[in-house]
């Protein structure tokens, strides 16, 4: 009963977080048809569908240059705040000394903007579902999501809801793909159907290997005319548990993603590949 109550409260908390969960723009078919939203050549699009409402998070993978530029800007901002605060404190001390030791009111110090406390990956997460469907169909029930993102590399962070931390992160292994300018990257119904390797009845025993040959890549007629492709998938190593949620990993994907114990293995490489650990 207590757990049930907690679950219900948790759901309310999740819903309260929901407006904060839309950092990539969901595209809706009705808006696309009416011209209120467009497939823009400056952005890329991730298409997902399945026989139920579902949700998940894709996180951007920075290039070395992007990471360096971000870190530089972060440092500039943090250093700027520190320097200005130091100036204020110095001025305050000077005033105190001039007053013969009587302390003037304390200065208001600046705080570093929270933006600079989040790593690059969380600056523009691409979240989808369960609301804001691209389209839904009845009999049988079917839901599709189209998410507008900045072009680049993305990895699947897992079936998480919102940015507040519900669901599961694929922190111990996942896959990544490239999203190009003006194109729809079609993941079909794989995300909805692939399942997860998580603390189930027998943790550590991976679920069945997921076969991409079983994925339904059908696109609705409203999208068929736009440039679209099924992306090449690549293994992604371990990732930090940014939100402090339950961890798991993607199931093995035939020809794409494998595991040796806790390590991620690239089945395409003869040499075993692995990324040992996220550092703190």
């Amino acid at each position: 009963m207590r757990m049930l109550l907690k679950s219900m409260l948790a759901m309310i908390a999740a819903l309260s977080l929901w407006p904060a969960a839309l950092s990539a723009t969901p595209i809706e078919e009705k808006n696309l048809v009416k011209g209120k939203q467009t497939i823009n050549s400056q952005f890329g699009y991730i298409y997902i569908h399945g026989n139920r409402r579902h949700q998940g998070v894709f996180l951007p993978i920075p290039t070395d240059e992007e990471r360096a530029a971000f870190e530089e800007e972060r440092k500039r901002n943090v250093d700027g705040v520190k320097a200005r605060n130091a100036e204020k404190q110095k001025a305050w001390a000077a005033k105190r000394d001039a007053n013969g030791g009587r302390e003037p009111p304390l200065p208001t110090l600046e705080v570093v903007a929270s933006k600079w406390m989040a790593p690059f990956e969380l600056q523009r997460p691409a979240l989808f579902g369960p609301s804001y469907v691209f389209a839904k169909w009845k009999q049988p029930d079917h839901y599709a999501y189209l998410t507008e993102v900045r072009p680049g590399r993305y990895y699947y962070y897992g079936p998480m809801m919102g940015a507040g931390g519900f669901g599961l992160c694929f922190c111990m292994g996942s896959f990544w793909f490239e999203v190009g300018e003006g194109e729809i990257v079609n993941l079909g119904d794989m995300v909805a159907n692939m399942g997860a390797d998580s603390l189930g009845p027998v943790p550590g025993v991976s679920p069945r290997e997921f076969d991409l040959a079983t994925v339904d890549y059908a696109l609705p007629a409203s999208l068929a005319a736009y440039p679209n492709r099924v992306p090449d998938l690549h293994p992604y190593g371990k990732s930090k548990n940014f939100f402090g949620v339950t961890i798991g990993r993607a199931p093995p994907i035939k020809g794409v993603l494998g595991y040796h114990r806790g390590e991620v293995v690239d089945p395409k490489n003869a040499a075993e590949m692995a990324l040992p650990s996220p550092t703190e």
Binding site: A10, A20, G165, P235, G248
Partner: protein
Amino acid sequence: MKRLIVVAALLLSGTAQAEVLGDKPAPVRTFAEADIAAIPRPNIVFTPTSEITGNYHKYHYFHREGTSFDEAYADVVECDVYASGISVTTSAPMVWTPQTGYGADPAAQAFSNLVFGSDIRRELARNNRRFCMGVKGYSRYGIDEGNWKTFNLEEGLSRAPQQERDAALAKQALVASGPKPEQEALEP
């Protein structure tokens, strides 16, 4: 040893390295034999009662045969990273959104904090550690609360001081790489 092979593989195959992305590997720490010998070995022998066995979901430890202390330590530390800092909350970084900028999350997180008690965090932490050690091939063994507390941290809303944490992790690694427990393993 396996980690060394992996690191060597990474160094040797520059092109393949680009194929697998993820966080940078943590530095592998090696311990001198004298350092390992200086770690007090926790007691894992106890007499099970129904009350003790009923709490195995909370109080357990891990062991893997043929594992060196260094390997076990690296694994224990990695799994601790995944299991600690379970927050759903104030320590979670904020995410920019077009609707709210960086504004809405603190309140929402404070609310989450209120909703999730420390017990649910402990449960999440236990599950994460269990999954992480499980996929690494460690078996899980039940233990009584008293002995468990001598080499594990019971963290709820607060985080244990680093020194205490380091000592606990070293003891866990010692047990994980030590003699095989005589009791039956639990399901992973």
